[in-house]
């Protein structure tokens, strides 16, 4: 099966000071089958957001892309402006962390939702209004008719994020990119918004790339999870295997840093150091300076992703799983 979205040895550099180049993504190889949901998990500097933005050609000015990002077989970096516009208007839609930064505060929710329906899809005003109401119903916004007349400032963060999801669905995309869509929300609102995203993607058979720092959240709504560290794919595995099947020491460290608080006696374990920005990574494994398992090889040779259980891990010394031979 041809993946709907494929990162093929993606490497991104940005202009640095005095003519240098700063590497923000070293190498990401990842394929999303049509209808699948993949969680891209990482901390600051991991390159997770830039990886998502590369799909829509939304990288910062001066960015240079090596390798490839293919949407439905077509190379995004090779797309010309009309093709890119078509991709952003129909193929792939994005939901961002801060909805208020992506909506005009002076115009109504109704204007925001119907604009593209009228100008791009050619719907009549009345048909666009009806469609906008149906979209708000679909993301479980009560009292849709009143909401359409309101301005963004009158809506809570959770409601506004549902409006953004409705706007993304309006384009009838095949791919939904969600970049930390709930990070700014209260935890009960987060659960509701994630439930709405999960329901919508199942109903429409959407492919989902979900960017998050929260492994448990990724595991809850995704089929597979990909863990990024310093611009490199550290591990990729089925989401339901995260808690028990991760073999990369960094994935294990992330899990140990957020134990299940409802399990009596659970202990939180911290690793030293801070997440390494991609451009500070040396020639070896970027996680080696923080890794208890690191050896000399780790500091000099960058590990290639290798099959590990039903996933792959880029590690010279993966953690053996319980019950398996070391």
């Amino acid at each position: 099966m041809i993946p709907l979205l494929e990162f093929d040895a993606l490497r991104v550099t940005l202009p640095g000071p005095r003519g240098t180049r700063r590497t923000v993504i070293h190498r990401v190889d990842l394929a999303l089958a049509p209808g699948s949901a993949v969680g891209l998990v990482g901390e600051s500097g991991s390159g997770k957001s830039l990886t998502a933005r590369s799909v829509l050609g939304l990288l910062p000015p001066g960015a240079r892309v090596d390798g490839d990002v293919r949407f439905d077989g077509a190379s995004v970096p090779a797309m010309r402006p009309p093709e890119l516009r078509a991709l952003r208007r129909g193929g792939a839609a994005m939901v961002f962390q801060d909805p208020r930064a992506h909506i005009n505060p002076l115009r109504t929710v109704g204007d925001f939702l119907t604009e593209a329906l009228v100008s791009v899809r050619g719907l009549t005003r009345a048909a666009a209004d009806a469609r906008a109401t149906a979209l708000l119903d679909e993301v479980h916004v009560a009292d849709a008719a009143r909401r359409l007349r309101q301005r963004p400032a009158e809506l809570s963060g959770g409601l506004l994020q549902r409006v953004m999801i409705a706007a993304a669905l309006a384009a009838e995309p095949r791919l939904l990119l969600a970049d930390e869509p709930t990070t700014a929300l209260d935890v009960t609102t987060q659960a509701e918004v994630m439930a709405v995203i999960d329901e919508a993607r199942r109903r429409h058979g959407l492919t989902l790339l979900f960017i998050t720092h929260d492994l448990a959240l990724a595991a809850a709504v995704c089929d597979r999870a990909a863990v990024l560290y310093a611009g490199t794919l550290a591990e990729e595995l089925p989401a339901h295997r995260l808690a028990t099947g991760a073999t990369h020491p960094y994935t294990r460290a992330l899990l140990a840093a957020r134990p299940d608080p409802t399990v009596p006696g659970a202990k939180l374990r911290a690793i030293e150091g801070r997440p390494l920005p991609a451009d500070e990574a040396g020639p070896g494994c970027p996680f080696a300076p923080r890794c208890a398992r690191a050896t000399g090889t780790c500091r000099t040779e960058r590990p290639e992703p290798r099959p590990s259980g039903d996933g792959r891990a880029a590690c010279h010394h993966p953690v053996p799983l319980e019950g398996s031979a070391p």
């Binding site: 901390e43 600051s44 479980h140 209260d186 935890v187 009960t188 609102t189 987060q190 659960a191 509701e192 994630m194 439930a195 709405v196 999960d198 329901e199 720092h213 929260d214 492994l215 448990a216 959240l217 595991a219 809850a220 709504v221 995260l242 808690a243 460290a253 992330l254 140990a256 840093a257 957020r258 134990p259 299940d260 608080p261 409802t262 009596p264 659970a266 202990k267 939180l268 374990r269 911290a270 690793i271 030293e272 150091g273 801070r274 997440p275 923080r290």
Partner: protein
């Protein structure tokens, strides 16, 4: 043993809005109590009232036998209060001057509150920086040159300089990366093992509470809806809102659910239970 902090029927209005609506708290010396709530729950206002950054409209706060200094309090009263309670914010930029070297930020507090001067003061400054996991050589760094975790460590070092009885931590780990958040929670836990200090840990994140605090109160709409041992509240919440909060914490095997319409914020029949 007498409580370190007693809060009785605390009320704070902002115009027509009641941010804190009859809160009772009791904190024993060396106890770590989490105050958990979502936006608008009144948790941060409660913290600001306890630290004396705001003045309450009704109710009583007693910290180490004295109320927080009012707006017209004398300097000596303010300094005495500062030696009892220190505050660490979510963003250390709020408490650290970006132009000031972090060593100087710590030394300034030491000089203001204690007799140490010269080499003895510098030695104490370096000891504090080391205690929070910084390198004494970082004393000459400005906040901008440090990572988020290191800045938060510096803010904690400065707060510890007066050897306070109570540290109020207002979303002190919320802005940090997951792996760094664990380090700071770990650091705070170890500080408490070394010397008796009480924590009032203000957070929206119920998921980290049991790893730092043995007790928790859950706030909503300016009121306490449930209180108890952290493990008990997380494993067997009694209040429907607390249950909704616990059910919203992502964890292995968890699925997000659209919650049924929640109870209204005000539940006047529930009385706060002090741990």
């Amino acid at each position: 043993m007498k409580p370190l902090l007693e809060v009785e029927q605390l009320v704070k209005h902002y115009g027509a809005h009641t941010a804190v609506d009859g809160v009772d708290l009791r904190l024993m010396p060396g106890q770590a109590l989490a105050v958990v709530g979502e936006s608008g729950s009144g948790k941060t206002t409660t913290a600001r009232l306890v630290t004396g950054l705001e003045t309450s409209d009704a109710g009583r706060i007693t910290l180490g036998g004295a109320p927080p200094p009012g707006p017209r309090a004398r300097r000596a009263e303010r300094l005495a209060h500062a030696r009892r309670v220190q505050l660490v914010f979510q963003d250390p930029y709020t408490s650290l001057d970006p132009r000031q070297k972090i060593g100087d930020a710590v030394a300034e507090v030491l000089a203001l509150h204690g007799p140490l001067r010269g080499a003895a003061l510098e030695a104490r400054r370096d000891e504090l920086l080391t205690r929070v996991g910084l390198d004494a050589r970082q004393a000459g760094s400005r906040p901008r040159a440090l990572s988020g975790g290191q800045r938060q460590r510096a803010a904690i070092a400065r707060a510890l300089a007066v050897e306070p009885d109570l540290l109020v931590l207002d979303e002190a780990v919320a802005a940090l990366d997951v792996s760094v958040q664990a380090q700071i929670v770990d650091l705070l836990a170890r500080i408490r093992e070394q010397r008796p200090i009480a924590y009032l840990f203000i957070t929206h994140d119920l998921g980290i509470v049991p790893f730092l605090c043995e007790d928790v109160v859950v706030m909503r709409g300016g009121r306490i809806v449930e209180s108890g041992r952290s493990r008990d509240v997380l494993t067997a919440p009694r209040d429907p809102y607390t249950r909704a909060l616990v059910d919203s914490v992502p964890r292995p095997g968890w699925k997000p659910a659209r919650q049924p319409a929640r109870q209204p914020a005000r539940q006047p029949e529930r009385k706060a239970v002090t741990p």
